[in-house]
């Protein structure tokens, strides 16, 4: 924001110079108006008017938002499961594992599927990756349509949220 001030110089009766500063002067005021005000102020006093300075201050500070959080890199080895690629073993579907690599610091989440197909998902650390695997309890689910769900990581102080869509077909 640009601001304007004036300094009115005058001389007092003993010959000493005196100054009167006024801040928050309208930047749109003309020089003549400011000088006239300086003269009026001095005229109300015993001092003798000398000069008026106009000071325009332009604030050059750059205001910016906090640095944008980086989007972490999230890659998935499998984004399309087929139910047929799993076989049940004590309630756990053994087969394709979706391995995620992620370089952020968020918490993993598995989004809600649009329909409940009776599948559950678990995520576990698998070496350097994070594995996401569906499983079921009881009888094997049947899929009549493709189910898409999100696997992602929450936003943190350091990273944006990110997610990957994973589809499951019959």
């Amino acid at each position: 924001m640009a601001t304007t001030s004036i300094i009115v110089n005058s001389t007092d009766t003993s010959g000493k110079s005196a100054q009167k500063a006024m801040t928050c002067v309208n930047p749109d005021a003309t020089n003549a108006q400011l000088a006239a005000l300086g003269q009026m102020i001095t005229a109300a006093s015993n001092n003798t008017y000398v000069e008026t300075f106009r000071i325009n201050k332009i604030n050059c500070d750059l205001e910016s938002d906090a640095p944008a959080k980086p989007t972490p890199t999230l890659t998935a080895t499998v984004t399309n499961y087929s139910l047929a690629s799993f076989e049940s073993d004590n309630g756990e579907m053994i087969g394709s594992t979706c391995n995620l690599t992620y370089n952020g610091d968020g918490d993993i989440f598995i989004g809600k599927a649009p329909i409940d197909v009776g599948l559950r998902f678990k995520a576990f650390k698998n070496g350097a990756s994070i594995a996401v695997k569906p499983f079921y309890i009881g009888s094997a689910p049947t899929l009549t349509e493709t189910v898409t769900f999100k696997v992602g990581f929450t936003e943190t102080a350091n990273y944006k949220a990110c997610s990957v869509d994973i589809t499951l077909t019959a």
Partner: protein, 83 residues
């Protein structure tokens, strides 16, 4: 040594602004013969007419002079030399 008495005076003009803010401008060493009302009125109307002074909180426009005071102050430097 006797006490040293120093007299100072100032004219204090209080301006008001459309955001409700007020600012006091102090003018030192006013003329002893000053007609406070006339002097304040002429400065006040000039400031308002040209919107020269802005409020120092939000930069609000001038509403004009609110009040004017002449302040006479006596400062006495006390002599503490033992009698």
């Amino acid at each position: 040594m006797a006490d040293t008495v120093k007299s100072t005076s100032s004219m204090q003009l209080e301006f008001s602004f459309v955001d409700g803010d007020t600012r006091t401008v102090s003018i030192d060493n006013p003329k002893t013969s000053i007609n406070l009302g006339a002097a304040a009125a002429s400065i006040g109307s000039y400031v308002k007419e040209h919107n020269i002074l802005l409020g120092d909180k939000t930069g609000a426009d001038s509403k004009g002079l609110k009040s004017a005071h002449l302040v006479n102050q006596t400062t006495t430097k006390l002599d503490i030399t033992p009698a």
